[in-house]
Symmetry: C2
Subunit: 353 residues, 2 copies
C-alpha cells in the first residue's frame, strides 16, 4: 500500500498554489471552484488547468467548514448499539426517512451511538445539527453542550426539553386505543410486554420504581396508554425489541398460574415472540390469547397470522426530522410535528375466552 503521494513534494497543493500557477488571485480561484461568483470562462479554464497540473482535488472541506461555519454534517444519535437498533425494521425505516431528506439537501449523516465514553465524542464532531432518536434522558448533558454551541437539536419521541425541537408520536393515545380494542372484545386480564426501560436493558417485572426511574419515554408512554384503559395491567420488561425477547417475556407471562387473556407488546417483534411462546405452550392465538403489537412493520414468517397492531408512520417520522433540521439551519421556526398511529386489526386478537 502506498497511501502517500507519489509526487516528490510532500505537501498537498492548496488553493493559493493553484492560484499562483494560474496567475490569478486566491479569491478568484476560489470563485472558479465554487462557481459562486462571476468568473470569465478563460480564467476558470486557466485555474482548472493549473489545478489539474498540480493534482489539486478542490477546496479542502475542513477549511471550508471553518470559514463558512458549516460542515454539512448532521449527527444522528442512536441509543443502542447499531446491531441492536437496526434489528428492528422500524428504526431502519425511520433512518431511511432521515437519510432521504438530508441527502436531498446535500447534507451528510453522521451516525453516533450513545455508548459510554462516546458521550465525549458526541460533542466533538463538527456537526451543524443533531437528531436524537428515541434517546434516553442520559443525553441531558450533551444537549446542554449543543445548546451552548448553538447547534439545533431535533428529538424524535423524547421528553420535552427546552430548545429541543420535538417530533412526536401518539404513543399514549395509540396504546390506549389498542387497549380499548381489547377491552371491547371483553378482555380484562391484560399484560404488557414493555420495551427496555433502562440503559442496562434489564429484564424483569414492571414495577412502579422502575417506571419512575425509566429513561425510555416511548416505553413509558405506551404503558401509560394501556393503563388508561386497564389501570391494573401488569407486565414484564424485555431486554430489547427482538423476537427472542418477546418469546422470553411471553413465556414468563404465560407459564404462570394467572395467565392473561391478552398481551399488549410494545413492538411488533415482541408481539411475534409472544405468539411463538403461546404456540410453544399450546395456547391458541387468538382463541385463548389475544396479542397486540406496535409499529406495523412487516415480519417474515408470521403467516398465517396477521398481527393486530398500531401502525406508525416511521419513514415520515424520519423525513419530518430531516426537514425540521434543514429548516432550523436556515433560521426558520418550524411548527412542532406530531404523528398518529392507526389501529390495524388482524387476526391475532379476538373475544376474551
Amino acid at each position: 500500500m502506498n497511501t502517500e503521494a507519489s509526487s516528490p513534494s510532500a505537501t498537498r497543493p492548496n488553493l493559493a498554489a493553484v492560484a499562483a500557477l494560474a496567475g490569478v488571485s486566491a479569491s478568484t480561484a476560489s470563485l472558479a471552484f465554487s462557481g459562486a461568483g462571476p468568473v470569465s470562462e478563460t480564467t476558470r479554464a486557466k485555474v482548472l488547468a493549473a489545478a489539474k497540473s498540480l493534482n489539486y482535488a478542490g477546496p479542502d472541506p475542513r477549511a471550508q467548514s471553518l470559514r463558512r461555519g458549516r460542515s454539512g454534517i448532521i449527527g444522528v444519535v442512536i441509543e443502542d448499539r447499531l446491531r441492536d437498533a437496526f434489528r428492528d425494521p422500524i428504526n431502519i425505516a425511520m433512518l431511511d426517512g432521515i437519510a432521504d431528506e438530508l441527502g436531498t439537501a446535500g447534507l451528510a449523516l453522521l451516525l453516533l451511538t450513545e455508548t459510554g465514553e462516546a458521550g465525549a465524542d458526541i460533542s466533538l464532531a463538527p456537526m451543524d445539527a443533531v437528531i436524537l432518536v428515541g434517546c434516553s434522558t442520559q443525553l441531558d448533558r450533551s444537549v446542554t453542550v449543543f445548546r451552548q454551541r448553538g447547534i439545533p437539536v431535533v428529538a424524535i419521541e423524547a421528553e420535552r426539553m427546552p430548545d429541543v425541537f420535538p417530533i412526536d408520536l401518539d404513543n399514549r393515545d395509540a396504546s390506549a386505543r389498542g387497549a380499548r380494542h381489547l377491552s371491547s372484545l371483553g378482555h380484562t386480564n391484560v399484560a404488557i410486554v414493555s420495551l427496555p426501560l433502562e440503559e442496562s436493558h434489564a429484564r424483569g417485572p414492571i414495577t412502579r420504581e422502575r417506571e419512575a426511574a425509566s429513561s425510555s419515554y416511548t416505553a413509558t408512554q405506551r404503558s401509560l396508554g394501556v393503563r388508561d384503559v386497564f389501570p391494573a395491567a401488569r407486565g414484564v420488561v424485555s431486554a430489547g425489541s427482538f423476537i427472542e425477547e418477546g418469546l422470553i417475556a411471553g413465556r414468563a407471562l404465560l407459564e404462570r398460574g394467572d395467565k392473561p387473556t391478552a398481551i399488549i407488546a410494545q413492538s411488533d417483534l415482541l408481539a411475534v415472540g409472544v405468539i411463538r411462546a403461546a404456540e410453544e405452550l399450546g395456547i391458541g392465538v387468538p382463541a385463548q390469547l389475544s396479542v397486540l403489537g406496535f409499529d406495523g412493520v412487516h415480519v417474515e414468517g408470521l403467516a398465517p397470522y396477521e398481527l393486530t397492531t398500531l401502525v406508525q408512520p416511521a419513514v415520515e417520522k424520519g423525513s419530518a426530522a430531516g426537514r425540521a433540521v434543514i429548516e432550523l439551519l436556515e433560521g426558520g421556526h418550524p411548527e412542532p410535528v406530531a404523528f398518529e398511529s392507526e389501529l390495524r386489526v388482524g387476526n391475532t386478537t379476538g373475544p376474551a375466552s
Copy 2:
C-alpha cells in the same frame, strides 16, 4: 423554538474571549482545554471558570479540524439505499463491526450512499478516510478524488484498485466449495440466483453480456465460483437481497420445464425466497430441490429448515476494515486482509433425485 442564544451578545464566545477573561493568553487556554501541555491547576481553574461564565462549550471542532488536519470522521459508503442495504442482516453485522472499531478509537462514522448526485457530496465532506462496502466500480471517479486528497481508502469486497486497501472474502472459492458439495450429492442441473449485477437492479436471466458489464464484484465472483464446478450453470439475476426477490427468482426457475435439481442463491435471504417458491409449487426441499445460501445469517421463520449455506465472518470483516483505517491514518502499512467462509451443511441440500 428559540435556537438563538438568549444572551445579548450575538456572537458565540471563542477561545480568545475566554483567555482574555481569565487573564491568560490564548495558547494557555488552549492547553487548559486539551490537557496536552503543562498548565498549573490554578490557571486551568481560572480558564474553566471563565469558560463557564461565558457559556463557552469548548474548542470549535471545525477549527480543530482545520488546524490539526483531522476531523475524526470516517466515511462509510454504501451502495444501495439505506432501507435496502439494511434489510439484509449481513450488512448490519458488518457495519456494526466497523462502528465498534471506530467508536473505540474515538472516530465517528459518516454514512454515505452512492445515489445519484450524492457522488458530488461524497468527496465534499471533511473525512479522514473512507470505507467502501461492496461498492460498484462507479466509484472510480470518487476514488480518484480521495487519492488526490491523500485520503486512505479501504474497500470491502471490491475489485483491486491501486492505492485502495482491500478487505477480501473468498467469494469465488467458497461458492465453488458449495457447488462441490452439491456436485458430490449428484447434482448436475444447477441454477444460480444472483445478487444484482448493475446499479439499476434489473431482474432477468444471467447473460454473458450482463456479467461482462457487471459492476458487482461480489456477485460476479460468486457466479464464477459456481462455474468452476458447473461450467454450464444458468441463472437469474435478482433485484436485491430480499426474501421476496428470492421468491420471484425461484418461481422463474422452477415454473419452467427444465427445472434444476439444485439452486445456488447468492445470499441467505434469496435462498429463503427460493424455498418459499418451492413450497408454493409443491416442490419438496431437499427431496426434489436442494437450496444453498450464502452469508450464514439468522432468518426468522425458516423452521423446520436449517439452511445449508456458506458462513462468512461479517462482523470481523467490518472490524478489520475499521482497524485498517485506523492503522492507515497512523501512517502504518497494514497487510491486506482476506477472510474465509465456511460451508455449514443444514437440511436444505440432499442427494439429487
